[in-house]
Every structure is written in structure tokens, then in C-alpha cells.
């Protein structure tokens, strides 16, 4: 994990998320501009890149779901050959997790939804 960081209200949330097996990075991101607010990442994860792409992806999913008349998106997951990207958000804040392909998504989803509730 990275070194000491400036304390934020999201520190313990990110610690909880990144303690889950298979989680490589957890971060809280601004949905509108894709900038990291706080993060906890393994070495080698390109935080800024993940934040920008995840925020864009989440925003697109949220807006598309609304446009399709399906209501507000509460949880998003992208599965790929070498990993997953999960996100949940509220009020312009998105909590994002990058995991290995074999990570237990059920647990991570519960933590993300709980975290997003806290953004209310």
C-alpha cells in the first residue's frame, strides 16, 4: 500500500474495502471531474487513470440508466479478463474498487453500497 496520506473522512472506509481479498485499489472519486478525493492503492496501480475512467464509466452508466427510464444507478460492475472494476455512488461521490478477477464481489458490493449510503 502507499505511504501516509492526508486524513480524510474516507480513510476508514477505504481501509475496510482494501482489506478484502483480491482488492488492488479503493478510492473515492468526484463523479463530475474524475479527480481522486482519497485513495488506498497497491503499488503499480495508476490511481489518476483509474479514477478518471471509473468516474466516466459510472457517470455514463448512471445517465444511460436514467435515460432508459430505469431510475438512478446504485451499483456498477465491469468484468474483464484480468480484473474487475466496481463502483457505487451518490451526490457526485463515487467509491471505486479495482479487484483481481477472482475477488469475492458479493462482499465488495455490500461494502460499496454501505459506503455510498454514507454519502447521502
Amino acid at each position: 500500500m502507499t505511504g501516509p496520506r492526508t486524513p480524510t473522512p474516507f480513510g476508514s472506509l477505504l481501509d475496510t474495502l482494501t482489506r478484502q481479498r483480491g482488492v488492488k485499489a479503493g478510492m473515492v472519486v468526484s463523479e463530475s471531474d474524475g479527480i481522486i478525493i482519497d485513495s488506498n492503492m497497491q503499488i503499480g496501480v495508476h490511481g489518476d487513470r483509474v479514477a478518471a475512467l471509473a468516474a466516466s464509466l459510472y457517470r455514463k452508466a448512471r445517465m444511460s440508466a436514467t435515460a432508459a427510464g430505469l431510475g438512478t444507478a446504485t451499483f456498477f460492475q465491469l468484468e474483464a479478463e484480468r480484473g474487475r472494476l466496481c463502483a457505487a455512488g451518490r451526490n457526485d461521490l463515487v467509491v471505486v474498487v479495482v479487484t483481481e478477477a477472482q475477488a469475492n464481489v458479493g462482499l465488495i458490493r455490500m461494502e460499496l453500497l454501505r459506503a455510498a449510503e454514507g454519502f447521502a
Binding site: L53, G71, A73, T74
Partner: protein
């Protein structure tokens, strides 16, 4: 018939537990609106899972869709709920006849034709046909003709739960198969497909930049529904939506089945 369908639809909308779905489903089936009929029957069964005639209705629709195995299972359930159900016995005899299993077909139809005091004319005629066929046809499975799949009802066999719907879109976001029906029966597949297809472009970009390999699935939970997407052949996109109550694990399994169905359909289409 169209007036009846409208009236029964209205009654069902007012009272979803109304048994009028049996007549509505049968009327839709006779009009060859098999996808909608299937939905009506499945939805009705969710409210009346122990109603023998509801299982009988679903079985008849499944036969029309060419899914003989599922139809047989539904009629089997009908018989468990209503032993001696003539419609189920005739249906099971028909399925076995189509499958070339003539002794079994004969047994079901013999039971359906009743006794001398109350014979069932239709079953008796079918029984005669089977017996005559048996004199000339060897008891080996006959090839069952695969019905031409209608694009709009392509996923009807796979999706059995209420509120489940699937779309197959091409690379430009145009709907190729499937439907997205609202409660009033209107199909908004094009609108929903157009709205959601852009998510896959973002997914391509994200996986490329994050070195995650090809994306295999996207899941989105919303206030009203759960949505799953997967890449399809020729840069197409498969989209599956279900009610919010559908567990994500089940949604992924359904997505896999829809993907298989879409692949088979694409491979069978003339290029």
C-alpha cells in the same frame, strides 16, 4: 378477438391476480403473439403457481415456440396438480409423438381418450393416428423441425421470470433481436438500446487503458431494475434487464444463456 385481448389486458392491469390471464394468454397464443403470450403465462404462474391450467397454458405456448422438452415438463407439472388432466395428457402424447416415442405417445393418448362412457373425441383420433403411424414408422426419435426464430421473441425460451427482457444490438446500437415491453405492451427496445449501448464504448476504453483485457460483462443495479450487458458477435451488444428483485448471480447465468442463444442465432442467419 382483438377487443377481447384489450378487455382482458385492462382487467389484468387493474387486478394482476385475476385468472383472466388464462384467456388472455390463450388468445395471444392463437394470434401467434408467442413472446407476449409467454410473458402473460409466466407472470400468471408467478401468482398462481399451483394452478394446473396455468401450467397447461404455458406448455401450449412452449410447444408453439418449438420447446418440446420444456412443454413436456410443464404438462408433467399439470398432471401432478390435476391428475387425469386431459389437456396435459393429450399434450404429452403429442410431444412424444413428435419425438418419435410412439409407445409412450400411445399410452398418454389412451389415458386422454377416456373410457367408453365419456370418450374424448380429439384424443381418440390422435390415438388412431399414432397407432397407424406405429405400423409404418420405426420407434426411433424423429427429427424435430427447428422453427424459424422470430427476432422479437428470440430470448423468450431463456427468459422465464417476470420483468426479464433481452435485446441484441448491432455495432451501431440498432436492435437486431429481442424486445423491451412495458406494462402496457408497448415495445421500447430501440429507445432503451440506444440509451444503454454507449456504456459498452466506455467499457472498451476503460479496459484498454487499465490493461484489464477484454471486458466480458457489465452489471448495473438501478432503483427499478438490474441490467447486464455482454459483448456479442460482430461488435454487437447483448443487453439483459430484469426486475430489481433478481439476484445478480441469477442475472449473470441468464446473461450466459442469452449469449449462447444470440450466438446460435447469429451463426444461423444468412450473412
Amino acid at each position: 378477438m382483438a377487443d377481447d385481448i384489450t378487455r382482458w389486458s385492462d382487467e389484468l392491469a387493474r387486478d394482476p391476480a385475476n385468472l383472466v390471464f388464462l384467456m388472455l394468454g390463450e388468445a395471444l397464443r392463437k394470434q401467434n403473439q408467442l413472446g407476449v403470450a409467454h410473458r402473460v403465462a409466466v407472470k400468471g404462474l408467478e401468482r398462481h403457481p399451483h394452478h394446473a391450467d396455468a401450467h397447461d397454458l404455458l406448455a401450449r405456448i412452449l410447444v408453439d415456440l418449438g420447446d418440446f422438452d420444456q412443454a413436456f415438463d410443464e404438462w408433467d407439472m399439470t398432471l401432478r396438480l390435476a391428475p387425469g388432466h386431459v389437456g396435459a395428457l393429450k399434450g404429452m402424447g403429442f410431444v412424444r409423438f413428435k419425438q418419435g416415442r410412439l409407445p409412450e405417445a400411445e399410452e398418454y393418448l389412451r389415458r386422454a381418450s377416456g373410457d367408453a362412457t365419456m370418450p374424448d373425441v380429439g384424443a381418440s383420433q390422435a390415438l388412431r393416428t399414432v397407432r397407424q403411424s406405429g405400423a409404418f414408422v420405426a420407434p426411433v426419435p424423429a427429427p424435430v423441425p427447428v422453427p424459424e426464430e422470430e427476432p422479437a421473441t428470440l430470448f423468450a425460451r431463456v427468459l422465464t421470470g417476470a420483468g426479464q427482457t433481452a435485446l441484441l444490438m448491432d455495432a451501431s446500437g440498432l436492435v437486431m433481436a429481442g424486445s423491451y415491453l412495458l406494462a402496457d405492451g408497448s415495445d421500447v427496445a430501440s429507445e432503451v438500446g440506444a440509451a444503454l449501448s454507449g456504456v459498452s464504448d466506455e467499457a472498451d476504453r476503460a479496459t484498454r487503458h487499465l490493461n484489464l483485457g477484454e471486458w466480458t460483462a457489465i452489471l448495473v443495479e438501478t432503483e427499478a431494475a438490474v441490467i447486464a450487458m455482454a459483448p456479442a458477435a460482430e461488435d454487437g451488444l447483448l443487453l439483459l434487464a430484469a426486475s430489481r428483485a433478481t439476484p445478480l448471480g441469477l442475472l449473470k447465468r441468464l446473461l450466459g444463456r442469452c449469449r449462447d442463444t444470440a450466438r446460435e442465432w447469429m451463426e444461423g442467419r444468412p450473412s
